[in-house]
């Protein structure tokens, strides 16, 4: 674990606790951009964690970044934080400058834009769907075809047509149509398949981690609610049915935290998809159970707009579908297994990339 993690986590949690209130999230969902919170996070250096200071970043490692993203999930931050951070990681990988303006990305298999170089600059055209925070992003990282080559390109999002859509959490998930946009661009030829794979992996892990963060606070809120809420003359945590639900909530949350922690550490060391895919499968599955049971315990009050619970559960319901649902990532696991040299499932499960150092490494 990097030395700065505790400090960064503490700082970020302080900012979010004070500023990312229920009301702020309501406003954001109603369509107001939260510049003040953005500025606070930028000042704290959140958007460039994991990028060395000498390259203009905040320092620390990717693992630190993912631990901050857990807080972004925990506080349901209504800003493109994970998108901007991940864009910066990918930019830095490719030797580009990092960004501090709201940025998003669209790097997936089935969508490309097309670019033609002309006298007055590059002419860009294409349609990108499901672009998270598209309407607020100033720039967008995507792949462009020029002839037979695929380039990584950071597009300015000006003069583009935006068709507004939202996920269940009221987070923008827009369709962007670009028609003969003329711009000066930095381009870099990339190995398309590898880049898509890497981007999808980082995105999936970020969602898994954010899901686990949302669960953490849902569990907290729910336990607290059972202490305060009385029914039939006693706090509801005394009801055995409520106790059973709390234990299931705790189990799903603990499992999600544990597997994402494991996936973060593994990702930091190598790109093995096994832990990461497990994390996305597991947190996706847990998301539905946690949302259901948290609402069941909270009862009618929890489904009112006044209550904070739905800001988190709607995110669970959205995020579990994003960057691949359980089937998609389980399929990746299956393909990895089929292509592996492991004769048995048990070998596949236990074949960890061993570390050179002796002794057990323990987080914290």
């Amino acid at each position: 674990m990097s030395d700065m993690r505790d400090l960064m986590v503490e700082l970020a949690e302080k900012i979010l606790k004070e500023n990312c209130t229920k009301e702020l999230i309501d406003q954001a969902e109603d369509g107001t951009w939260q510049q003040k919170l953005w500025d606070l996070l930028e000042e704290a250096g959140i958007f460039t964690i994991g990028i060395p200071e000498e390259n203009g970043g905040t320092g620390g490692d990717y693992a630190d970044g993912f631990h901050i993203l857990r807080l972004i999930g925990k506080y349901a931050v209504p800003l493109p934080v994970s998108e901007t951070l991940i864009v910066n990681w990918l930019l830095h990988d490719s030797g580009f400058q990092t960004e501090t303006v709201p940025t998003t990305l669209s790097i997936k298999n089935d969508e490309h834009i097309h670019i033609y170089e002309k006298e007055n600059g590059f002419h860009v055209s294409g349609t990108l769907t499901d672009v998270s925070w598209g309407r607020y992003a100033k720039k967008l990282l995507t792949l462009a075809k020029i002839g037979n080559e695929t380039h990584l390109v950071l597009l300015p999002l000006e003069n583009v047509q935006i068709e507004k859509m939202n996920n269940l959490a009221g987070e923008p998930m827009d369709t962007i149509k670009i028609d003969q946009l003329v711009a000066q661009l930095q381009l870099k030829v990339v190995d398309e398949a590898a880049l898509i794979e890497r981007a999808q992996q980082i995105l999936a892990l970020s969602k898994a981690v954010m899901i686990s963060g949302a669960m953490e606070i849902i569990l907290d809120m729910t336990v607290q609610y059972t202490r305060e809420r009385e029914q039939f003359g006693r706090p509801i945590h005394r009801q055995q049915a409520v106790q059973q639900y709390l234990a299931i909530l705790a189990g799903e949350t603990a499992a999600s935290l544990t597997i994402t922690n494991k996936a973060i550490e593994t990702f930091q060391q190598n790109n093995d998809v096994y832990e990461l895919a497990s994390a996305k499968v597991k947190t996706n599955e847990a998301a539905g159970k946690v949302a259901e049971l948290a609402h069941q315990v909270h009862g009618a009050i929890g489904v009112t707009h006044e209550h904070r619970l739905h800001q988190l559960t709607r995110r669970l319901w959205s995020w579990r579908e994003e960057v691949g649902n359980e089937n998609d990532w389980a399929e990746k696991l299956a393909i990895k297994f089929l292509n592996s040299e492991d004769a048995t499932l048990w070998e596949f499960l236990t074949r960890t990339n061993s570390k050179k150092s002796s002794g057990v490494k323990v987080k914290d």
Partner: protein, 384 residues
């Protein structure tokens, strides 16, 4: 946050090599015909020869001090051994309780004499223990103990009975939780003590309780004026409840609460791999992801246990989730492969499926029922 933030354990190269060593040994013994893979082997795989071989390898009591026959290796090394044994479905029922529970209890609370006497024998794989906790009609209400020991010259006179004791018909000793003082209605946990009872002593009788399969894994054990010498008291007189509770953390978070049906899962995956059936393999990979997260939790708790942390709540959580998983393996497998479970089938999936289904009811009863465990977790969280 309730200690759910478990450590991320990464195995070292040495540990991975050790795993390969254990695995190679198991493969060799299996090839020799020493054992046949089976589900739930830690409850129903009794094989003294195999237990002795593990003892020779130094893999029983592996974490204990060398002076008591142990190997002074880490909790993670122990974890590796036992998960390899379970994944292979090896017959470990004989020494299981002694290695997991009774030995550690004696190490923690026993006298020097007790440690010197019992631990080396356990570590050799030649001395088995049984747990004397449940009583007829007590069920989940463990504190309702009525087996009692009355003080006499140089020892105690024990009367009463224990039930659901796995393996007592093979075991040499039982650690009996009994009442050494009258019941105090205001403090049901007071006045209990733990005594080591020699199961070959006069006055001890053992009646097998047949499991629903007809096999005898459990017993009812009766004590009729059994003399137990003073030196067989474990820890403090009257401290039995606390000691007993400490014992439970060892038994709840281990891989035997996750892997009881692993041999079935392995067969399923092998078959789907052979058929290159990607859709079904994808379905079964959801089980693998679940297993992965349970394993990470379980090994994290093993690490915390070694560090002396209180993991009672998390251990209860893992047992609850792990045993649900063990059951689910069978339920999903039957739908993915459409086979008829049968104990006498020559097809491994059918056989393991039968073993898994028939043993499944026990998974969520033994070692704390689902409902009791969930109560422990909830109350623990609410109290914090």
């Amino acid at each position: 946050m309730y200690n759910f933030d478990l450590p991320v354990v990464e195995f070292t190269e040495e540990q991975n090599n050790f795993r390969q060593e254990v695995r190679a040994f198991l493969q060799k013994e299996k090839d020799k015909g020493t054992y046949e893979t089976r589900c739930d082997s830690w409850l129903n795989g009794f094989n003294p020869e195999f237990s002795r071989k593990l003892g020779e390898k130094g893999w029983i009591g592996i974490t204990w001090p060398k002076k008591y026959g142990g190997a002074e290796r880490s909790a993670i090394d122990r974890y590796i051994v036992i998960e390899e044994l379970l994944a292979a479905g090896a017959p470990v029922a004989g020494h299981w309780i002694a290695d997991r529970q009774s030995g550690p209890l004696l190490l923690r609370f026993g006298t020097e004499e007790q440690k010197n006497f019992y631990l080396p024998k356990i570590a050799k794989g030649e001395c088995y223990f049984a747990i004397g906790m449940s009583e007829p009609n007590s069920g989940s209400d463990l504190a309702s103990v009525s087996t009692r020991a009355e003080k006499t010259d140089g020892g105690w006179i024990l009367n009463g009975s224990k039930t659901w004791t796995s393996g007592a018909h093979h075991a040499h000793y039982m650690i009996v939780l009994c009442r050494t003082r009258p019941k105090d209605p205001n403090n049901r946990h007071a006045g209990l003590s733990q005594l080591i009872v020699d199961l070959s002593a006069p006055g001890v009788s053992i009646r097998p309780i047949k499991y629903l399969t007809g096999a005898a894994h459990f017993n009812e054990v009766f004590f009729e004026n059994v003399f137990v010498p003073d030196e067989n008291l474990v820890g403090q007189e009257g401290n039995g409840w606390k000691q007993n509770m400490a014992e439970l953390a060892y038994e709840r978070s281990g891989p035997e609460r996750i892997l009881s049906t692993f041999p079935l899962l392995e067969e399923l995956i092998q078959e789907l791999k052979k058929e290159k059936d990607l859709p079904r393999l994808t379905e079964s990979m959801k089980l693998v992801a679940e297993l992965n997260s349970l394993r990470q939790m379980s090994v994290g708790v093993a690490q915390y246990l070694e560090e002396g942390k209180d993991v009672a709540i998390t251990a209860a959580l893992i047992k609850d989730m792990g045993t649900k998983f063990e059951k689910y393996v069978a339920e999903l497998t039957r739908l993915l492969v459409n086979r008829k479970p049968s104990l006498d089938s020559k097809n491994r999936i059918e056989k393991y499926l039968a073993q898994s289904i028939l043993h499944a009811p026990g998974f969520t009863l033994r070692g704390g029922t689902t409902e009791i465990l969930r109560g422990i977790v909830a109350k623990g969280m609410v109290a914090q």
